[in-house]
């Protein structure tokens, strides 16, 4: 009997305040658990607006300590109560003035497993992230959760194949890619890059994007959250491009083994030839 992981993703629109945003996400955890989902990942900077459309230090207040901050603790209790693994992409303050774009990983018993800090930080029109975040320094952690080995790669990271591969080498079975990306800028890439990464690294990818236009700018976030399998095929349907949606899908891990036995990319890669990639 193969191992099937029922995994979930949640895309939603900015409600206007942090507390109601957290409540919407708490409800999503309950709804996912009601369907037997074993793991759920939220969108990038999940409880806030996508404030990187502007450069304003007032938004530094959205940062919290991880794992000591209130939001992580709140979701630890929920994870414990419902027995679900949670991935919480949020704004992290390590100490005043040292801020990261981070995802905390909570196990199904509520214990805190660790965090991934976004490595590649963009600074382009409408995505002024260098104003808010230091580049991540967490390396490429893969978390051994109750349901399987999970990696996280945040938003703009997805344009860099190196991190995807590093997570694969660490044994990731599912990599979550929480994002905030807008129509016009990247929509055609959204259907290309993560499926390509899933095929190149022979694991499942869950791609999450928020929806709607927020009052900080014109970015029109296009949702279309999805899971893709190691053959780059969508698992079920792609979510709406406008509406809040919980995506719950069964991921059959037998597929991962089947594809790796067939294609053997990990056997045939030749790291010795790649030194130019790491030359400074």
């Amino acid at each position: 009997m193969s191992r099937v992981i029922r995994a979930a993703l949640f895309q939603t629109a900015w409600t206007g305040d942090k507390e109601s945003m957290i409540q919407v996400h708490e409800q999503a955890v309950r709804d996912a658990a009601a369907q037997g989902a074993q793991v759920l990942c939220f969108q990038e900077l999940f409880y806030g607006p996508y404030f990187c459309q502007v450069q304003d230090k007032a938004f530094y207040d959205y940062a919290e300590r991880i794992p000591e901050g209130p939001t992580v603790q709140r979701f630890q209790s929920l994870a414990r109560a419902l027995g679900i693994v949670l991935i919480l992409p949020m704004y992290e303050e390590e100490q005043p003035g040292v801020l990261y774009n981070t995802a905390a990983v909570i196990d199904a018993d509520g214990s805190y497993l660790g965090k991934y800090r976004k490595t590649h930080i963009p600074q382009v029109q409408g995505f002024w992230e260098k104003f808010y975040f230091r580049p991540g320094n967490s390396g490429w952690p893969v978390f051994d959760t109750a349901v399987g080995r999970i990696g996280v790669y945040i938003c703009y990271d997805r344009h860099f194949p190196e991190g995807w591969r590093a997570l694969g080498l660490e044994g990731a079975e599912i990599v979550f890619n929480p994002s905030a990306t807008s129509r016009g800028l990247s929509k055609y890439l959204w259907q290309l890059e993560q499926p390509a990464a899933a095929a190149a690294n022979e694991y499942f990818v869950g791609a999450i994007n928020r929806v709607g236009v927020e009052d900080l700018g014109d970015n029109d976030f296009y949702g279309t959250t999805y899971f893709v399998d190691p053959e780059a095929q969508y698992v079920g349907e792609v979510a709406s491009d406008k509406e809040t949606e919980l995506v719950v899908r069964d991921l059959d891990m037998a597929k991962l083994r089947e594809v790796r036995d067939r294609w053997q990319f990990y056997r045939d890669r030749t790291p010795g030839a790649y030194s130019p990639l790491t030359a400074p």
């Binding site: 996912a32 009601a34 037997g36 349907e237 809040t244 949606e245 995506v247």
Partner: protein
């Protein structure tokens, strides 16, 4: 608006003859043609026929020409012969035809070798005839083809425009496209979800059977004779139209797909229907299921292609009175539940949930109903549910069961104090009376029993009687629901008993009036 080719990106813009087809024309066959080089290029399209003896003919060509020559200016100069062939090759000529005779009594070896090297078909005519006959023959055929293409294009455009102007539904447009194409026509959104189909049912079913796999291949051009046109406007792509297995000339199929795509874009932009294509798709599937006209098994490929998970699932048919399909669709998305929601023909909104087998279907149905109340702000909103079905074949009966339950409780939900999810077991006698409502004996029984109230048309007293009986003759609850004092209620009950000539404290008489009232109400709806 964009309509672009997916399966034949390099297809010529207009119909053309191939070199091979030209060589099989009767007039040409009489000239005893022999292909002496470049046989691999015989399927090249011939765009035009050109007679040229000049050695530098290449500069006069624009590609796709079949060049006819006697070689009179080339005889005796081998380097010019080779250069002549290379010049045609550079100009992307389709083929060269050499009439044997005074200049070349036999196929010239230098030209043959040069043509073979560059893959240019070299054809010799052993019995040459006036080239004018050949150009006339081929040119008139090419013109006729172009004219046929233009007239096909016009015919399709005229038919579809007439339908759009007449306000025809999407399905009617697709049926018309299928009539022209004589192959299955499939409309999908960008997620490859099938929104509508047209064409002969068994052929459509064959296409849909393995939809998930084949549709993605089609995007990559792996399937021959699948012609796809993108649908979009105002800078956004919405979906795709596919002609699956078009058997005519690819160029005609391309043209048909493009005209159809333009018409569909226009139809959508003009808002041909208040419903989105996705909503129309769900509506047509649920309507077909509940009608039973087509066996459920035959609708399975359509359900799967519409994105409804069907393998190892539990199906819960629901009817939600007074709910907009769009609201229900949003709720399904928020909850992450798989399902279809649509308004059926008789104004009833139905939902078909598809749930994983390992979850308690009743608990998820209750969750759906509870969240519906929150989402709509209607604390009395009801969901009429059939018992969960594990077999797809049982879904139509389930949908009818849910509709029956909704009918049976309509209008009396508050008095009955029903739960958020109502099932067959909750409707008791109401369900039975509902089923018997067409029976003339039952109708005359109801008229006879209620005559005293119906004759004088006293709707208020009828309302009080209805609530009183529905609450199990609970006077304080009835008074509360009608916002009247208990003494006022007593006076009304006395009036009712007087008009009907019955004693409502007597169980059998009260039961008789209750059944009559249920039968009366069932006929009113």
């Amino acid at each position: 608006m964009t309509t672009t080719s997916a399966s034949h990106p390099a297809a010529p813009p207009e119909p053309a003859l191939s070199v091979r087809q030209v060589l099989t024309l009767e007039r040409v066959l009489a000239g005893e043609p022999e292909v002496v080089a470049g046989a691999g290029g015989l399927d090249r399209a011939v765009r035009w026929v050109h007679v040229a003896e000049a050695a530098d003919v290449g500069v006069m060509l624009t590609g796709g020409e079949m060049v006819l020559t006697t070689g009179v200016l080339l005889a005796g100069d081998e380097s010019r012969q080779a250069e002549y062939i290379q010049s045609l090759h550079r100009a992307e000529a389709a083929a060269v035809v050499l009439g044997l005779g005074r200049a070349f009594p036999t196929p010239p070896e230098v030209m043959r070798r040069a043509a073979e090297r560059c893959g240019l078909p070299l054809v010799v005519l052993h019995r040459p005839f006036p080239f004018a006959e050949l150009t006339e023959e081929v040119q008139s055929r090419l013109v006729r083809r172009k004219f046929a293409a233009v007239s096909l294009s016009e015919a399709v455009r005229t038919d579809l425009t007439a339908l759009i102007t007449a306000g025809a539904p999407l399905q009617r447009l697709l049926d018309e496209v299928a009539r022209h194409s004589a192959c299955p026509v499939v409309l999908t959104n960008l997620a490859h979800r099938v929104l509508a189909t047209a064409g002969e049912r068994s052929a459509v079913d064959d296409v849909l059977r393995d939809w998930e796999r084949v549709s993605r291949q089609a995007g990559g051009g792996a399937l021959d004779a699948w012609i796809s046109a993108e649908l979009g406007g105002r800078g956004e792509r919405w979906g795709r139209l596919l002609l699956c297995g078009y058997r005519g000339e690819p160029a005609n199929g391309r043209l048909l797909a493009d005209r159809a795509a333009e018409a569909l874009v226009l139809h959508r932009m003009l808002g041909g229907s208040a419903l989105s294509w996705e909503e129309q798709s769900a509506q047509s599937l649920l309507t077909d299921l509940v009608s039973g006209v087509v066996p459920a098994r035959q609708l399975l490929p359509r359900a799967r292609a519409a994105g409804l998970p069907v393998n190892l699932r539990t199906f819960v048919p629901l009817v939600v009175p007074g709910a907009e399909p769009a609201v229900l669709d949003r709720l399904l998305r928020v909850l992450g539940l798989s399902g279809l929601a649509a308004e059926l023909a008789d104004g009833v909104t139905a939902v078909l949930l598809s749930l994983p087998r390992d979850r308690a279907a009743d608990a998820l149905t209750a969750l759906f109903a509870a969240r519906l109340r929150e989402a709509t702000g209607r604390p009395d909103a009801l969901v009429a549910a059939a018992d969960p079905r594990t077999g797809w074949d049982e879904v139509p009966a389930g949908l009818r069961e849910a509709r029956h339950v909704a009918d049976a409780v309509a209008g009396s939900a508050a008095a009955l104090g029903l739960p958020a999810v109502v099932r067959l077991k909750d409707v008791h006698l109401r369900g039975l009376v509902r089923l018997l409502r067409e029976n003339p004996d039952v109708q005359s029984f109801a008229e006879r029993e209620l005559d005293g109230l119906l004759r004088k048309a006293e709707p208020e007293l009828l309302e009080v009687l209805r609530t009183y009986l529905a609450t199990g003759r609970n006077k304080s609850r009835t008074a509360q629901l009608h916002h009247v004092s208990r003494p006022a209620l007593y006076r009304r009950l006395e009036a009712i008993q007087g008009r009907l000539g019955v004693d409502l404290d007597d169980f059998e008489q009260a039961a008789s009036v209750h059944i009559a009232l249920l039968a009366h109400d069932a006929q009113q709806r």
